[in-house]
Symmetry: C2
Subunit: 324 residues, 2 copies
């Protein structure tokens, strides 16, 4: 069997997550990592190249897994790479997905490549669960909860406050809403009401903790409107207990098939590492995308377009015998 | 927009569940119900026909939803109907799925139709979750738990015991295993160990309850090897509290992306009515199958072959804008 030849573009946490995941897939071969930085050493020992060297790999890499950040990198990088390679990204800036899709679609169609965008866990696996549950239960209500997990953006925002040395913010879904939905209720609840913001803060010696706590809780666009809890801890405690980047969440749909006959569908992810799981989803869908490309499909696609069998390493016969 | 014209074959609990579900889908029209019995009255008022009249509807029905039982009906009915119509079933006799697939595939290919088999919640939605989670986390362990839900087969087996008037058996997954898996453990546990069999029994007046309880707990292939609990209740209590046909269950996968970095994926269904939810899955996939048939695909298929977008009533643009 010819292995699927993979390239990874971008080598931060997500790139390393994708690298680890490709190494677990028996039908894939990691050809190289492409980075803006020169001379990086990869975890697996696979060769690293600069972005400028990428075009030397035309015809030698089947799928490029793009591991840059959405806002700054992917919005330009995915169309640029799609002009030469079949590629996949985890673009997650929701309001710009349509714009990004159209840009990538145009570049990929012009080049005769296929590109899959917005493939991670949300957007990605959570999106799939929303589509499945809504198609099956058209009469009902869907909910998405995020966490318990680290929000990098909120952690950074706290760190910018005067007197803060370090900080970690967890987004935590409130059990009372989860349990109400599981019990067949359909609460009207906003994202602000549904989540708690749990903050672990290292203050500088002598800093005014009451002021810091107040600045956090009154920070617009980040904490105002949310129930926010602030814990002051030492740097040692933060390093010991809060260095991971766990995340996850829930997609639920509560619906009725006939009046009074209720069904609840729940999908839950508990992830020790957000970037490693996202990398794992990208890798599985790189397989599906490679199969799509072999069918001569060109343009932009999403997880909604890929038959589930195509992301599996197993044959259709094996899937029917063992997974159906 | 031309509506998808649906026929329902078989009019027991599942047929009525499919009927209710079709009525909730704005892009579908229920043309008729086909039954072995003559002169039945349908819940929705849609016309009922006998099986013999089915061929009069060639070209007038886009998808037939087959709602018979697996063991007795579908094994013969699906290939027979596939010889004339695009059709979908919920065949769930696991050991015979390959045989059934091959029979249906042959009939459908010869006739130039498409047929989707084994489409419900297990097999069906649970199967999809197993494939997704295993593709994303190749290093790990998958678990399926059923319940809390009524097992018709086990309820019937209890009713055949001398001195039993009525009975209802619930299969209940044990929380200790669910919680262990959610905590990242990977217990080795058999299906017998993982489930409790909870029995509600109405005994005849003067019947020996100790003997009945003993006969239940020692019944081979049904209860031996399981933790079994027997409650004796009155017919009134059974009619009041145990007349529903709820079911559901869990698919979990616990896996690692790098050593020590764990992820847990959980999919849970809580269904007030097993046949109504199964009917709802069949209906959503009837939409996907209709689209597959429009692509001139012929032969047998499963849920693994259908791009998720195809089961949705929404356009690709809408899905990207609102569900991704």
């Amino acid at each position: 069997m010819d292995k699927i030849r993979i390239g990874i573009v971008g080598y931060g946490n997500l790139g390393r997550g994708a690298e680890a995941s490709v190494k677990l897939q028996p039908d894939m071969e990691l050809i190289g990592v492409f980075s803006r930085r020169k001379g990086i050493k990869t975890v697996s020992g696979v060769p690293a190249y600069t972005m400028d060297e990428m075009l030397n790999f035309k015809g030698k890499i089947d799928v490029m897994i793009l591991c840059g950040g959405s806002a700054t990198d992917l919005i330009e990088q995915t169309p640029a790479v799609a002009a030469h390679f079949t590629c996949i990204d985890s673009f997650d800036t929701h309001p710009r997905i349509t714009e990004h899709f159209n840009n990538v679609d145009k570049a990929a169609k012009a080049a005769g490549t296929a590109a899959l965008i917005s493939c991670g866990w949300d957007p990605g696996m959570f999106s799939l669960q929303r589509v499945f549950a809504e198609a099956i239960l058209p009469q009902g209500k869907s909910y998405t909860f995020w966490g318990r997990g680290v929000s990098q953006g909120h952690s950074d925002a706290i760190r910018r406050i005067d007197g803060v040395v370090d900080a970690r913010q967890y987004t935590v879904p409130k059990d009372k809403y989860l349990n109400a939905i599981r019990n067949g209720e359909m609460p009207e609840v906003t994202g602000q009401e549904a989540h708690l913001r749990d903050c672990y803060v290292v203050a500088a010696e002598g800093a005014d903790k009451a002021r810091i706590e107040n600045e956090i809780k009154t920070m617009k666009n980040y904490f105002v409107g949310y129930e926010t809890v602030v814990h002051f801890i030492s740097q040692e405690e933060l390093d010991r207990d809060h260095k991971g980047i766990p995340h996850g969440g829930f997609v639920l749909r509560s619906g009725e098939s006939t009046p009074g006959t209720k069904h609840v569908v729940e999908y839950r992810l508990q992830l020790d590492s957000n970037p490693e799981f996202t990398g794992s989803v990208l890798t599985a869908y790189a397989r599906g995308l490679n199969r799509l490309a072999k069918h001569k499909a060109t343009g932009a696609f999403t997880v909604f377009d890929i038959p589930p069998a195509w992301i599996s390493v197993h044959s259709d016969e094996e899937l029917r015998a063992h997974s159906l």
